[in-house]
């Protein structure tokens, strides 16, 4: 087996040392900065992976010890297979990888005019189609069109109906009133002319 000291090289820009990953554990056996005081070690420690176990072997420097403790490492006195002795190692366990595949929900919503009476058999078959996806675990078939849902949310929040846009509400209503007024005046004038 090759001795680890023979594999010492550049860890990162401005850093020399040795690190090795074995069985999802990153072992850092030596770190030495080529530019002391430039923050290269801090930068390296900040970029250490948090999804796997990291073990820094035999940390003697009090500055590095503090830096490791600040970054969630825990002191464990134990055997180092690299240094072949019992020493102060700093260990940080990897964060569990969240299993997103268990929590994805797909919502299907139809427009106002169709599928308000979607039969149960069709609902089931749509659910089947969606659940065939490896990432979807829950399916919601929302019978309420978005507009209806927004109306309800607005009413619950403000206590009055949601203002309508376009020609069916808001400014549109005033356009209708203006046109009706103009038609009334025009028809009156036409009647007056005839007499």
């Amino acid at each position: 087996m090759e001795f680890w000291m023979d594999k010492v090289g550049e860890l990162a820009a401005g850093l020399t040392g040795f690190e090795e990953e074995i069985d999802s554990c990153l072992h850092i056996v030596a770190i030495s900065s080529n530019l002391p005081g430039e923050g290269m070690v801090s930068l390296y420690l900040n970029n250490l992976p948090d999804d796997r176990r990291v073990m820094v072997h035999d940390v003697g420097s009090p500055i590095i010890r503090d830096a490791l403790l600040r970054r969630g490492f825990v002191l464990e006195h134990g055997y180092s297979q690299y240094l072949n002795k019992n020493c102060d190692n700093y260990i940080r366990e990897g964060l569990p990888t969240p299993d997103f595949s268990k929590h994805f929900t797909a919502e299907v919503r139809f427009d106002e005019f169709t599928f308000r009476d979607l039969p149960q058999s069709d609902r089931d078959s749509l659910r089947e189609v969606l659940s065939a996806s490896p990432i979807i675990t829950a399916t919601v078939i929302n019978d309420k069109p978005r507009d209806v849902e927004l109306d309800e949310q607005y009413f619950a929040l403000h206590g009055n109906p949601r203002p309508r846009g376009g020609l069916h509400g808001g400014l549109g209503e005033s356009v209708y009133i203006y046109l009706a007024g103009a038609a009334l005046i025009a028809s009156r004038k036409a009647i007056e002319k005839n007499y």
């Binding site: 797909a106 299907v108 005019f113 078959s125 189609v129 996806s133 990432i135 979807i136 978005r146």
Partner: protein, 49 residues
């Protein structure tokens, strides 16, 4: 998934002799919407193809 759902929608709309709109929204573990905009199924656009 989208392709399969669209095929399902095509089939159902065809059976009902209707053209309609549908949207598919995906939510993550925290209930937040994942796709910034819902995937929109537009029956008219599908007919053109």
């Amino acid at each position: 998934m989208t392709k399969r759902v669209f095929v399902w929608l095509d089939e159902r709309y065809k059976r009902r002799k209707e053209v309609g709109l549908a949207e598919i929204t995906l939510y993550g573990p925290d209930g937040e919407q994942i796709n910034r905009q819902a995937i929109v199924y537009d029956g008219r656009e599908r007919k053109k193809k």
